[in-house]
Structure formats: structure tokens, C-alpha cells
């Protein structure tokens, strides 16, 4: 059984159809890159998988471990193992990062019928992960993402990914707003999380990110569909020739 199976997905925002019959199959252990020009529907796909309000699925289905993902609330999806690393992680003033991490982790564990972490176990786990990602302790005391730099925000997303141990990670434009050093740190964090049980969907406009997170499969999206799929060579071709060739194919 595939981990994620998207079949003939049609999605509307207000009165406009953004995705017109998208198919995608992702198995455990695989890393898929989804590339495409602005407005091709990449971020819409990630939002619909995570359950962001405001999108109307008019046709098709999304199965996650064989279950109907679209029937679940966003938090149920998270507990099942769907993790979206946001393109623009929000700032939540007044909610200390540490408190947030514990609340979220325990909510997920509780939903799965697992025991909640004890405070010392939790602290130990966070410290380990934070250290591996070079995240200073005082960052964890601050409000979630409040006053964080672009790189810090993305590292905070990776930290959560490591902590929550999801089976599907969707990285939405992880490279946007990052310089090369920040990108490398974040990508190293992501690569450390690659495992046979876990799949990743890397959404990006540029090939650059794929030098650091090397995909098994590359899909090109244009105008709400996957128009071409291939291996990592495809990304390099795109880098050379651009997206224009696909604009008409759609």
C-alpha cells in the first residue's frame, strides 16, 4: 500500500479551480520533489493535504495509509503522521516555543493512544534535537517564531519534524528566504530524518534545494496537474531549460 495516494484531485478556491485532476503516489522511504512555476498549484496541494480551510475539493481523493485523509480534521491528520513544514511559519506571540512543542507532541500522542511524555523525558528529547540543529535554548523560551530570522523559523520547522516523527513530511518552499548557509543547515536536518519508514514531498520552485535534498522522483506541475515525472535528472533539465516548455503541455 502506498503511503500517500492522490487521485484525480480537483480543488477550488472561491470560484476558481486550481487543481484539475492531480495524481501522485508516494511510498514510504521515498523522496519526491514537486517543481513548477508560480501559480502552478504546488502550495495548494500541500495545503489540501494538510487540511487548510478555504479550499474546496470538488472531485478526487487523497488516501493516507489507505485512509481517507480528506475526511479528517487538520489535527487528526497531524496525529496520523502528516507534517507540513510551512513556507511562512506563523508567529504566535505569547505562546512559548517549549510550551507549544510539548502541547502539540502530547496532543498527537494522546490522539494515537500513546502515553504523554513526562516533563524530564520531553525536555531531554527537545534538547537533543535542538542541539543537533544548532538551535540555542533561549530560542525555545521565546514565543513561537516571534522575532526569529527566516533561517531560525525554518530550523524551528525542522525541529518539530524531528520531534514529532511524522511518516510524511511536506516541505513547502523550504528554501524561500534562506541564504546558502541557512539552507544547508536546514537541509542537513531534513536529510538526517530520511528513513525507510518515512516519505518526503519537497515542493520547490528552484532546483537549488535539490542539490541538498536529493530526490528519488521529480514531478513537474503546471496549471494544476502533474505534467511530467522522472528522476533527479529531470530537475537538472528544468534548471537548464526552464518551465516554459510545460506551460503549453498543460
Amino acid at each position: 500500500m502506498a503511503l500517500l495516494e492522490v487521485r484525480d484531485l480537483h480543488v477550488r478556491v472561491e470560484d476558481r479551480e486550481i487543481l484539475h485532476g492531480l495524481d501522485l503516489t508516494v511510498n514510504a522511504g521515498e523522496v519526491h520533489a514537486i517543481m513548477g512555476p508560480n501559480g502552478s498549484g504546488k502550495s495548494t496541494l500541500s495545503h489540501v493535504i494538510a487540511g487548510k480551510p478555504g479550499y474546496e475539493v470538488t472531485d478526487g481523493q487523497i488516501l493516507f495509509k489507505g485512509e481517507d485523509l480528506l475526511a479528517m480534521e487538520p489535527d487528526e491528520r497531524a496525529a496520523k503522521g502528516v507534517f507540513l513544514a510551512f513556507q511562512y511559519p506563523v508567529e504566535i506571540p505569547g505562546v512559548a516555543t517549549m510550551n507549544f512543542l510539548r502541547t502539540a507532541l502530547n496532543a498527537q500522542r494522546k490522539a494515537r493512544g500513546e502515553d504523554e511524555y513526562s516533563t524530564p523525558d520531553f525536555l531531554k528529547k527537545v534538547r537533543e534535537v535542538a542541539k543537533s540543529l544548532n538551535i540555542p535554548q533561549d530560542m525555545l523560551k521565546r514565543g513561537v517564531n516571534v522575532g526569529f530570522s527566516g533561517g531560525e523559523k525554518k530550523r524551528n520547522e525542522v525541529l518539530q519534524m524531528a520531534l514529532f516523527e511524522p511518516s510524511l513530511c511536506i516541505l513547502d518552499e523550504m528554501d524561500s528566504g534562506l541564504d546558502i548557509d541557512a539552507l544547508r543547515i536546514a537541509a542537513d536536518g531534513v536529510n538526517a530524518l530520511r528513513s525507510p519508514d518515512r516519505a518526503m514531498v519537497v515542493i520547490t520552485h528552484y532546483q537549488r534545494l535539490l542539490n541538498y535534498i536529493v530526490p528519488d522522483f521529480v514531478h513537474v506541475m503546471s496549471r494544476g496537474r502533474v505534467v511530467k515525472s522522472g528522476d533527479k535528472q529531470l530537475a537538472l533539465e528544468l534548471e537548464a531549460s526552464g518551465y516554459a516548455q510545460f506551460e503549453d503541455a498543460a
Partner: protein, 440 residues
């Protein structure tokens, strides 16, 4: 504009309550005369209504359909019920001064726990037996506000506290108002005077005994913070769901003093806390904050006037309202800077969070500035919970209610963290969490 309007039914009822009660009210001679004058002053204005600017959003003529008669003296059963209710607003280590239905009850109070350097008497005792000048002073106020005039006319009891110069109280003083009688009213007034360089924590709480409903409270607190003194003042209004609570504070702050005041309203059908603070001595720090937690059809009004009468004072005001169902929150805050009050630094922030389509929030932050070398500002926002924050939290596994609760706590935290005293801060957070729990 002084409109001469015919009395409403409610107003006629108020007049009847006074006429019936006046012979039972403590104090004769000058005290009775002061009451009569105050009642006349009240009658000239009538119950505040929407065309009185200060009461624009809290129209008592519309909100107070019934006027309850003055509550009788609590009997032994009432005192037992009151005792049980004290737990609801218990603060660790506080020495309680308990007023049940507007009457001081010594057996529930712990005056002896307060130690040296503080004197506590009841208002009733002074009104009945005190020296002449002491008695009439207690009924003097500088305001012309109608509900304060009514309080002066009708007040039955309260406490008069004086903390000697240089005394630092080891435990908080807590006045607890307990209502046990239903459909009855209580008029109370307390005086708290902090001497020079004194330090104290003063809590005032309102709570209902089990079964008490539809009661009305009119309370006034007159506070002096002496030169160099420091006062933490917390108010917790946790009245019965159908109660009316109109409270007034008149505060004078001396030089180089610190006042940290916090008001929490999480009960009552109609609540208004109006506080008039005068910064009368240079170099003082004022921090006034509060939260309104409202649901059902509750109406909660916080009205604040900070009068910078002298130079070199700082004031900070931070208010938050969380309004659910058909609740209605009102915040009015005015910072006045008098012509001589140069180097004033005053900032006010008020924010309302509306959780339901029918919730309502009115904000009126005002600046009234007559001196030029000042830095003053205010901000106001209102709106719903941020959808993008909610989604982020839900995408991380929090259910909708939990995600909301976390954001609401953070929102309230911005005001609660202004409470200087850590144990009071935790007490208020716990009270707020209790409100959120019920909501869930």
C-alpha cells in the same frame, strides 16, 4: 448637556429603595445630612444612560430593569453559606476581610493575622460612633458620578484600612464581598491608605454564595498610595451569572510611588469597574491592566481615567477582552496630561477578541493632552482569532478547542504578565483557565 428627563420606572424604584432604607442606614446627624445631599445629587443626574458620555456604552436605564431592595443583615445560615463561597476566590496566605450582603462579618475575617503597622476598622463603626470630622470625610468624594453619589447615600459598611509609614505587610489583605441574598442590593465602601514607603498587596473579590442570584452590588474603594509606597491591587469579579456589579475606584498616588492594579471580570450579567486615578506626586509609576472574560449575554465595562496632574510620571495600561456568545465588552480609557505634567510617559493598549458572530466590543481609548513634552499613545484592536495561527496549531496536532484555548491564553497573557506579584499572576491565570475550561 443636562437633559431634564422624566424618571424611569427603574429610577422611581431607586428612590423608593432609598426612602425605605434611609432610617436603617448607619450614622446620624452630619452623616445623614451627607447622605441626603448625595442622594439629591444622584437624583439630579438620574441613573446613567447612553447620552451621558461616560456611560455611552453602559446604559443602566436599559440594563437594570429591576432595582433590588437593600439586603438585610445576614443570619447564621447566610454566614455559613458565605464561608463556603470564600474558597472560590481564595488566595494563598491572604488575610480576609469579609463583607456578606454589605455587612462586615468578623467571624469570617482575619484582622488579627495582619500584624503590626496596620489599623482596620469597619466603616459602619466609624459612621455610627467616630469623631465628627472622620465621619463626614469618609463620605466625601471629588466626583459627580451618579453611581458614586448613590453609593454615598446608601452605603452600609466597608473597611477602613490604614497602613503606617514604612510598614511592609507580610501577607496580602483581601476584601471578599459575598452575596448570599437573592434579589437584594448591597452598597459598600472601603478606604485603603498606604503611608509613606509602605508596601502592601490588596485584593478585592466579589463572589456569590450558592443559590444567590439577581443581586446588585454598588461598591466604592478609595485608595491612597503614599509617597514612596508600593501597592499591588487585584480585583476579581466572579459574581453570579445574573448579578449586577457597579464598582468605582478613586485612587490618589503620591510621589515616587508604584501602583500595580489589575481588574478581572469573569462573572455577572452587568459589570462595570470605573477607576479614577490621579498621579499627584512626581516620579511615580502606574500600571493598570485587566481582562474581561464574557459569555452568554454578559456585559462587562472597564472605564479608566488616568490623570497625570504632575510631571515625570509613567503610566501603562494594558487591557484584553475575550467575548463569546452574545457578550458585550466595553473599554473606555482616558489619559489626561495636565498643562504642567511635562515628561509624562503614558501608553495604553486595549484589544478585544471576539469568539462568536454575535459578540460585541466597544473600545474608546482617549488622549487628552495639555502639555507638550510628553510621549503618549494608545492602540486598540478587535477581531477574531487569527485563522492562520489556528491552522498552524491544528497542523501540529492540536484540536480546534485546544488550539483556541492556547491562543486565548497567550492573548490574555499579554495583560496578565503585567501583574507584578508572581503568586497573584498565577492566581489570575488559574481563574482565566477555569473560565476557558467551562467554555470547552
Amino acid at each position: 448637556m443636562n437633559l431634564v428627563l422624566a424618571k424611569t420606572d427603574t429610577e422611581r424604584a431607586v428612590s423608593n429603595v432609598f426612602a425605605t432604607a434611609r432610617d436603617r442606614l448607619p450614622g446620624a446627624g452630619e452623616v445623614a445630612e451627607a447622605r441626603r445631599r448625595a442622594f439629591e445629587a444622584y437624583e439630579r443626574a438620574g441613573l446613567p444612560h447612553r447620552r451621558i458620555e461616560e456611560w455611552k456604552y453602559t446604559d443602566l436605564r436599559a440594563l437594570m430593569r429591576e432595582v433590588a431592595p437593600l439586603a438585610g443583615r445576614p443570619d447564621a445560615a447566610a454566614i455559613t453559606r458565605a464561608k463556603a463561597a470564600l474558597e472560590l476566590v481564595a488566595v494563598d496566605g491572604a488575610a480576609k476581610l469579609v463583607l456578606v450582603d454589605g455587612v462586615f462579618v468578623p467571624e469570617l475575617s482575619g484582622i488579627a493575622e495582619l500584624g503590626a503597622g496596620i489599623s482596620v476598622r469597619t466603616l459602619r463603626e466609624i459612621l455610627e460612633n467616630g469623631a465628627n470630622d472622620a465621619r463626614s470625610d469618609l463620605l466625601l468624594t471629588s466626583t459627580t458620578d451618579a453611581v458614586i453619589s448613590l453609593n454615598t447615600a446608601m452605603v452600609t459598611d466597608g473597611v477602613v484600612i490604614s497602613v503606617a509609614d514604612g510598614t511592609a505587610l507580610s501577607r496580602p489583605i483581601q476584601i471578599v464581598h459575598v452575596a448570599t441574598a437573592s434579589s437584594a442590593s448591597a452598597f459598600t465602601r472601603s478606604h485603603v491608605k498606604l503611608g509613606k514607603a509602605a508596601r502592601a498587596t490588596f485584593i478585592e473579590s466579589f463572589v456569590a454564595a450558592e443559590g444567590a442570584s439577581a443581586y446588585q452590588a454598588n461598591d466604592a474603594v478609595i485608595l491612597w498610595v503614599g509617597d514612596g509606597a508600593e501597592l499591588s491591587h487585584l480585583r476579581v469579579v466572579a459574581d453570579a451569572a445574573d448579578a449586577v456589579n457597579i464598582s468605582s475606584g478613586i485612587v490618589t498616588v503620591g510621589a515616587k510611588a508604584k501602583l500595580n492594579l489589575f481588574n478581572m471580570t469573569r462573572g455577572g450579567a452587568v459589570s462595570r469597574y470605573q477607576v479614577f486615578i490621579t498621579l499627584a506626586g512626581e516620579g511615580s509609576d502606574l500600571s493598570v491592566n485587566g481582562i474581561n472574560l464574557l459569555k452568554d449575554k454578559q456585559h462587562g465595562d472597564t472605564t479608566l481615567v488616568v490623570d497625570h496632574a504632575v510631571p515625570h510620571c509613567t503610566s501603562r495600561e494594558n487591557f484584553r477582552a475575550v467575548v463569546d456568545d452574545r457578550g458585550h465588552s466595553v473599554f473606555q480609557g482616558r489619559i489626561i496630561v495636565r498643562p504642567d505634567a511635562q515628561k509624562t510617559d503614558g501608553k495604553m493598549m486595549t484589544r478585544a477578541l471576539l469568539l462568536s458572530d454575535e459578540a460585541e466590543a466597544d473600545n474608546k481609548p482617549e488622549l487628552e493632552i495639555f502639555a507638550d513634552d510628553v510621549t503618549c499613545g494608545h492602540g486598540a484592536t478587535s477581531g477574531a482569532l487569527d485563522e492562520s495561527l489556528l491552522f498552524y496549531l491544528r497542523a501540529r496536532g492540536l484540536c480546534e478547542k485546544d488550539a483556541q484555548a492556547l491562543l486565548i491564553q497567550a492573548f490574555l497573557g499579554e495583560a496578565i504578565e503585567e501583574i507584578a506579584d508572581e503568586s497573584l499572576r498565577e492566581f489570575v491565570m488559574a481563574q482565566a483557565e477555569r473560565w476557558l475550561e467551562v467554555r470547552r
